[in-house]
Each structure stands twice: as structure tokens, then as C-alpha cells.
């Protein structure tokens, strides 16, 4: 195998206003290697890759691609040099169809056809005329990758491609990464799941607070990697020390039927209960009806049949009713459907407390709440008048969690709470969930991260093609089979 570098970045510095995101970072990517990029939330991974992809120009430092120094930073220039970038925040237009999105960025018919073929190789199972808004995150991911691959890049950047995939999907994705579709490519690949490094990466570079810690072999043990990222931490949470037994019945869902955006049944006959002080987990591959179930429960999607009860009373779900009753919701894509990207943290907090107010706004409470959340949830922002869109991907997720879990609640509906969080952040959120449970809060935890569901939940359901199945299975393997639709008796 040849080891000549295709990409060399030297002494890269980048500032956003007062924030120094990169403080002189080097990166070398060799021909045909899979190069993992690790680091805490806000370490500068996305910023570094946006520079390589020409979306940002560095303040200082040089970028060399195939031995040529880059002196004009623009996406089209980078594409000409063979760089393809699959961004953390997808660049798809949600109101357009899949087909329209493809033709928007791929100028010729042949390219579109190639993208479709690639999408199918990646396991695409949806129609080309479906609206992008109706796709699950995993499906959008696939579309985005196919779209970039169609241009046959020589260097492919994947910013957290596995964040929204379930374990089985990740396996599939990795075997593809080693397969013919990616043949001859150099891949730079960002992840927070350290286990994935040993699985696919030839080498790994670690960033820490805008600086490079070093580049290591892909077979470096996980705990060594974690230590170099943040210093020693406890990774796994301990479920054993529960304080109280589950109490009163909070939420009862009876025979719920919900339609998808396409009019087909997304959820069929769902039965479910959540008691005080217990965590009910729903595991499943994204796109099996989780979103529709949660949206219907939350009252932002019509429920066709069935009933929802709270505290022994039937209720008509509606967001403002839920908030006032002390029920909180972390939706599947909080940056799009819980936070206001173009608003400051302060203003976001203001909307969160609006249900407590009758007429006049209380900006002072909102500010102190935002300050409090910023420190409790370790959000990397120097001021609370920073906009959400100025935060790194993981910090946006943390802000969404703060909005959902930052105020006292009796019942929490959580979707993929640790998605995109670094190891320490994920551990923090899991501890917080357990602590809320111990305080008597009922929690419905919907996640495509199987281990998370099994680790935290008192009772586990599997959702597959819109149907909920109760399971006593204890291992990820058994549950994984159920998620794929295989029944284990």
C-alpha cells in the first residue's frame, strides 16, 4: 500500500469573533486510508473539515491537496481537487423531493442516475418522489452520502455519519466503506463512538480544544483514546443503585394508530404505559415509526385511532397542555424542531418559559435560566447572547437537551438524547436521566442506540415497522434481531 499523503494541513488557525476554534492544527491523510478524527464537542473537528472542503478559509496555515497548495478556498474549488464533504448538518432542502434535491446539486442526468444507484447500494428503500422532510435521519444520511459519492471524490469527508444509525446499520455501513463503492478513496471520518475507530480506521487524529493531541494507529485501545481526548472519565453508567420502586401510573397509550406523511400507517395499534420513577425504553432502527409515535403523543400529528391518558384521565394531546402539566419532550431533531437556530440562547430560553407567563415576558428569568443551563449542561459558548447556530453540532444537541430537561418535569419523552454527544457528554446525559428517574420522573426513552436503551430502561419495547413489541431480552444481540423484524420466543 502506498503511503504518500493526499492531504496535508499545517498550522491551521481559525477564529470566529472572540472564539479561537483552531489553534494551529496539523493533519495528514494518506492515500486510500480511513482516517478517524476524534475530539470532544466543540474541539474543532467540523471547523477543520469545513476548511478542507473549502467552506471556510483559515486565518493562518496551509492546506496542500495532492501536492498542490490551496490558495483559494471555495467549495467548488475543493470539489475540483476531488474533495467530497458530507456535512454534520445536512444540506438537503426538506420541502423538496429526493429527486429534486439530487438534481439541484448534480448538474447532469447521468450523475443523478449514478447517485440513485449508489443510494440503492447503501440500502435505499424509499421512493424518489418522497419529500425529504419525511425521511428519517438515517435515510437522509444515505441520500447525502450518495449525492456526494456520485461526484466520485478522491477524498471523502464524513462528519458523524454514524450518529443517527443503529448498530446493525453501522455494521452495514462499515462493510460498504471497505467495499467497492469507496475503492481508492481516502476517507476522513468523524465520530464520537470510540469503538468504531478500531473497526474501520487505519489511523486516528485527536483534537482537544482546538489543538492536535496527536495521530495514532487505528488499533489504539479505546480507553487510551478517551484519555487523550478528555483525561480519565467513567464511561459506563450504573443502573443498579435505583432509589425507589416505580409509583403511580402516569401515561397510558391505548391502541394508537398514526399515519406517516405519505398517508401509510406509521404506527399500528401501540399500547404503552409509563409509571412514575421508571424508564420505558423503545429501541428501533430510525424510521420505524418512532418519530410519528412521539409526534402524535405530543399532539403535533393527528392520531387516527386510540387514546392517550394522563393521571388516569383521557386527554387530548397538545404541546401547551403537556408543558403546563409538567411533561417535556425532546424531539428526534431538536435543532430543527425544538430550538431556534438564528436566535440567541437567551431568547430560546424565553420561549421555553412562555407557558408560565400570561401576558408580559420575563426576560430576566430567561437570562438566568440560560446562564444556568449553559453551566449545567457544559455548553461551549462564551455568552448567552450567542446564537444556537454558532454552536458546534454536539453543543446544539446539548442546548436542545437543556430546553427539554432543564426544568422540573413529571414525565419526559426523549428521542435519541445522546446523539452527537461526546463520551463525557453522553455519560452526563445518561446520569441525568437516571437521576430524574430517581426523583420520581417517568421517562419514555426512544433511541436507536441499543446499548443505551438496555442500559437505562426498566422495561424495553422494540419498534419495528410501526409495531411495538415488549421484550425481556437482555442482550444487544437478541434485541438487535427483534429490531430487524425477527421474533425470538
Amino acid at each position: 500500500m502506498a503511503v504518500s499523503p493526499v492531504v496535508q494541513m499545517f498550522g491551521i488557525e481559525k477564529r470566529f469573533g472572540e472564539v479561537q476554534a483552531l489553534k494551529g492544527v496539523d493533519l495528514e491523510v494518506r492515500e486510500r486510508e480511513v482516517h478517524a478524527l476524534l475530539g470532544e464537542n466543540g474541539a474543532g473537528k467540523t471547523t477543520l473539515m469545513r476548511i478542507l472542503a473549502g467552506e471556510l478559509g483559515p486565518d493562518k496555515g496551509t492546506v496542500t491537496i495532492n501536492g498542490q497548495v490551496v490558495n483559494r478556498f471555495s467549495p467548488s474549488e475543493a470539489q475540483k481537487r476531488g474533495v467530497g464533504f458530507v456535512a454534520q448538518n445536512f444540506r438537503l432542502v426538506p420541502t423538496l423531493t429526493v429527486e429534486e434535491n439530487l438534481s439541484l446539486s448534480l448538474p447532469t442526468k447521468a450523475l443523478c442516475e449514478r447517485a440513485k444507484r449508489l443510494a440503492q447500494e447503501l440500502g435505499w428503500a424509499r421512493g424518489w418522489d418522497d419529500e425529504v422532510a419525511s425521511l428519517s435521519l438515517g435515510e437522509r444520511q444515505r441520500l447525502e452520502i450518495a449525492r456526494v459519492l456520485a461526484k466520485e471524490p478522491q477524498i471523502l469527508i464524513l462528519d458523524e455519519p454514524t450518529a443517527s444509525l443503529s448498530p446493525l446499520e453501522v455494521e452495514g455501513f462499515f462493510s460498504l466503506l471497505k467495499g467497492p463503492a469507496f475503492d481508492g478513496m481516502s476517507v476522513v471520518f468523524i465520530t464520537h463512538r470510540l469503538g468504531e475507530v478500531a473497526q474501520v480506521a487505519d489511523r486516528v487524529t485527536i483534537l482537544r480544544q482546538g489543538q492536535k493531541v496527536g495521530t495514532f494507529s487505528g488499533s489504539t485501545p479505546i480507553d487510551r483514546l478517551a484519555e487523550m481526548m478528555v483525561g480519565p472519565i467513567e464511561v459506563r453508567t450504573n443502573e443498579q443503585n435505583r432509589m425507589k420502586e416505580p409509583g403511580q401510573l402516569l401515561l397510558v397509550v391505548k391502541g394508537l394508530w398514526v399515519r406517516s406523511d405519505r398517508g401509510t400507517w406509521a404506527v399500528e395499534e401501540a399500547h404503552l404505559t409509563v409509571q412514575e420513577g421508571e424508564i420505558v425504553g423503545i429501541a428501533g432502527v430510525d424510521g420505524n415509526g418512532q418519530r410519528e409515535l412521539l409526534e402524535a403523543l405530543w399532539g403535533i400529528r393527528p392520531l387516527q385511532k386510540g387514546e392517550v391518558w394522563l393521571d388516569g384521565q383521557p386527554i387530548q394531546p397538545h404541546p401547551s397542555l403537556w408543558w403546563t402539566k409538567g411533561v417535556a419532550f425532546l424531539p428526534p431533531e431538536p435543532t430543527r424542531s425544538l430550538t431556534f437556530l438564528s436566535w440567541s440562547l437567551k431568547e430560546n430560553a424565553l420561549v421555553r418559559i412562555r407557558n408560565r407567563l400570561s401576558f408580559l415576558l420575563d426576560r430576566r428569568s430567561a437570562s438566568s435560566l440560560a446562564e444556568q443551563w449553559r453551566s449545567t449542561f457544559s455548553i461551549q459558548a462564551d455568552r448567552i447572547d450567542r446564537k444556537v447556530e454558532e454552536l458546534s453540532g454536539g453543543n446544539r444537541q446539548r442546548w436542545g437537551i437543556a430546553m427539554a430537561m432543564g426544568l422540573p418535569a413529571r414525565l419526559l419523552l426523549l428521542a435519541n438524547p445522546t446523539q452527537g454527544l461526546d463520551v463525557a457528554g453522553a455519560a452526563f446525559v445518561r446520569r441525568l436521566i437516571l437521576q430524574k428517574r430517581d426523583d420520581g420522573c417517568g421517562i419514555l426513552l426512544v433511541s436507536s442506540d441499543l446499548d443505551e436503551v438496555l442500559d437505562l430502561s426498566d422495561r424495553v419495547f422494540v419498534i419495528s415497522r410501526g409495531r411495538l413489541h415488549r421484550t425481556e431480552a437482555k442482550t444487544a444481540q437478541e434485541v438487535g434481531l427483534l429490531m430487524g423484524g425477527v421474533t425470538v420466543h
Partner: protein, 339 residues
């Protein structure tokens, strides 16, 4: 800190200045194409707007309906609802006030109050279909409001030549409003009237609503991200109804003020496009109610200046629409689609 303030001001004002200069430049060129020196065109534009006491009063008078329609537009735009029907809402507001005040004689205070109320109701009613159709059938509000502008103009034309035509004489216009139904004049012999202060008051009230109250926050939140707003408990239907009703009412009051304060009667082509100038003013003010006060003054000055170049040079007053369009140019260039 002070430096940052200064820079923010520069960033805000620069595009407006660039648009204004570009517009003036184009108008000067157009003038020279018709045989007038650029300087004479610009001079008569200036004199029409600020040349003497009359000109200044005219600028102020014309900025009132621009301010009112601008406020209405700002409410809807802030909520992400593209209501471009302020022109129609203004016309119907003026019509409702006139019809009421011509029918029922009232003492001054009551007449002004009920005239304004009639204007508000008329304007709201004219905005209602847009809200209804958007909520019921998902029909785009741009199409509905734009269509209703033409319907309103047609209706006005029909009424002033038919049912509401003056009793004596045969001009296509209504009878004048009785003395008791007119806003007090402030600076005789100019047309400047007390309605100006009423409009300023409404601008400040709306600014307060926008910045300090829950309903203002709801409008802005829904405009910034409808999904997040819904998840957080903001009711979509209430936002859409209230924004259109308030927006229509403000434009309608503007129409009532124009007829009760400045023209005293209605006629065909009664509004020289105040509702459209209101859109420009609102966008120049970046949808901020307080900033709408200076921006509608600018648009009022352009309208008055347009009459100036018509009076002294015989050029069409619509030439100043070139300037209005240029004011929008840098602003729309900056509006990028949300990622």
C-alpha cells in the same frame, strides 16, 4: 462596546444608503433622458420633500399611511406570513370609515373613534380570507392577499362611480366627510393633522407588543421556526389568525386616517400605493416597529418628492418607485435561504 454599537449602526444603515444613492442616480439618469439636468431633477425631488413648510408637512402627511401599512406588514412578516395585501386592507379601511361617517352624523370625538374602528374592522375582514385559506387548505397567502388588492381597488372604483358617488356634481368621488369627522389640522395652511400622533402612538404600542409580550414572542417564534414554535406549545392557528387580524386592522386604520385627516373623501386611485410603500418601509426597518418611524418618513419623503418632480418638471411621480425598489435591493440580496 461603543465601537461595536457604532459598527452595528454602520452595518444597518449602509445598505439603505447604498440603495438610496443608487436609486437617486437612476432617477437622475432617467430625468436627463427626458432633457432635464440631473441636478434639476434631484433639486425638485428635494424641494418636493423638504423645500418649505408645505413640503415638509406633505412628507409627514404621506408618511402616516405608509407607517400604518408598514406596521401591519411587519406583524405578518415577523410571523413568517407574507401578507402583501396592505394596499387592499388600507383601501377597505378607508371605505368602511367613509361609508359609516357619511351615513351617521356624530360628534367629533366619537366620529374619529368609530371611523378608526370601522377602518380596523374593514382592514381585518380584508385580511381574513388569507388566514382562513392558509389554515383550511394550505393556500399560499401571497396569492390571496395580492388578489384581494386588485379586488379592493376595483371595488373602490365601482363604489365611487356608483352607490357612494357624490350627490351633487358628477365626478367619480364620494361626498366630503362632515367637519366633525376630520382630524384637527396642526399647522395651517398645510395639511398636517393630529392623526400623525395617533399613528406614532400605535407604532410605539406595537413595538411594546413585539418586544415585551407573549403574543409578540409567539409571532416571532413562529416566523423563526414553525416546527419549534409548535413543539414549544405555540398554537399555529392562533398565530396565523392574530397576525392577519392585527396586520389588517393596522393597515385599515391607516386608510381611515388618510380619509379623515388628509383627503376627506375617496376617489378612484385614491391610494398612490401606500400599501406597497409600507412593505418597502417595513423591510427597510427590518420589521422593527420603532425603526418603522424613520423608515416610513423616508418613504413619505419620496412620495412627496415624486409629486415635486411632477409639479415642477412634469415627470411622472411614479419615477420615485425606482428609488423604492433600489432601497429593497441590498436588503433582499442579504436575505439568504435558511440552511
Amino acid at each position: 462596546m461603543i465601537l461595536r454599537r457604532l459598527r452595528n449602526w454602520a452595518v444597518t444603515l449602509l445598505p439603505i444608503l447604498v440603495g438610496l444613492l443608487l436609486g437617486l442616480f437612476l432617477v437622475a439618469i432617467a430625468g436627463s433622458a427626458s432633457g432635464f439636468s440631473p441636478s434639476s431633477v434631484l433639486q425638485s425631488l428635494w424641494e418636493g420633500a423638504f423645500g418649505d413648510q408645505f413640503a415638509i408637512a406633505e412628507t409627514l402627511v404621506r408618511s402616516i399611511p405608509v407607517l400604518m401599512t408598514g406596521l401591519g406588514v411587519a406583524v405578518c412578516f415577523r410571523a413568517g406570513l407574507w401578507n402583501i395585501g396592505a394596499e387592499g386592507q388600507l383601501i377597505i379601511g378607508g371605505l368602511s370609515a367613509t361609508a359609516l361617517l357619511l351615513q351617521i352624523p356624530m360628534p367629533t370625538g366619537l366620529a374619529l373613534l368609530s371611523g378608526s374602528l370601522a377602518g380596523a374592522v374593514g382592514g381585518s375582514l380584508w385580511a381574513l380570507p388569507a388566514a382562513l385559506l392558509k389554515l383550511r387548505s394550505g393556500i399560499n397567502e401571497v396569492i390571496v392577499t395580492l388578489l384581494l388588492n386588485f379586488v379592493a381597488a376595483g371595488l373602490l372604483g365601482f363604489l365611487v362611480t356608483g352607490p357612494l358617488m357624490e350627490q351633487e356634481g358628477s365626478l367619480p368621488q364620494t361626498d366630503p366627510l362632515p367637519e366633525t369627522a376630520r382630524w384637527t389640522l396642526l399647522l395651517l395652511p398645510t395639511r398636517l393633522h393630529l392623526g400623525l400622533f395617533f399613528a406614532l402612538l400605535l407604532a410605539l404600542v406595537l413595538h411594546f407588543v413585539m418586544e415585551k409580550t407573549v403574543i409578540g414572542l409567539d409571532w416571532k417564534a413562529y416566523g423563526a421556526s414553525p416546527e419549534s414554535a409548535k413543539t414549544l406549545g405555540i398554537r399555529e392557528d392562533r398565530v396565523i389568525w392574530s397576525a392577519f387580524l392585527v396586520g389588517g386592522a393596522l393597515a385599515g386604520i391607516g386608510g381611515a386616517m388618510e380619509v379623515m385627516g388628509a383627503t376627506y373623501r375617496l376617489y378612484e386611485k385614491w391610494s398612490p400605493g401606500y400599501g406597497y410603500s409600507g412593505i418597502v418601509a417595513a423591510l427597510v426597518a427590518r420589521l422593527n416597529a420603532a425603526a418603522l418611524i424613520p423608515s416610513s418618513l423616508l418613504l413619505g419623503a419620496l412620495t412627496a418628492g415624486g409629486l415635486g418632480i411632477q409639479r415642477t418638471l412634469g415627470l411622472p411621480p411614479t419615477l420615485t418607485w425606482v428609488i423604492q425598489a433600489c432601497l429593497l435591493l441590498p436588503i433582499t440580496l442579504r436575505l439568504r435561504p435558511k440552511g
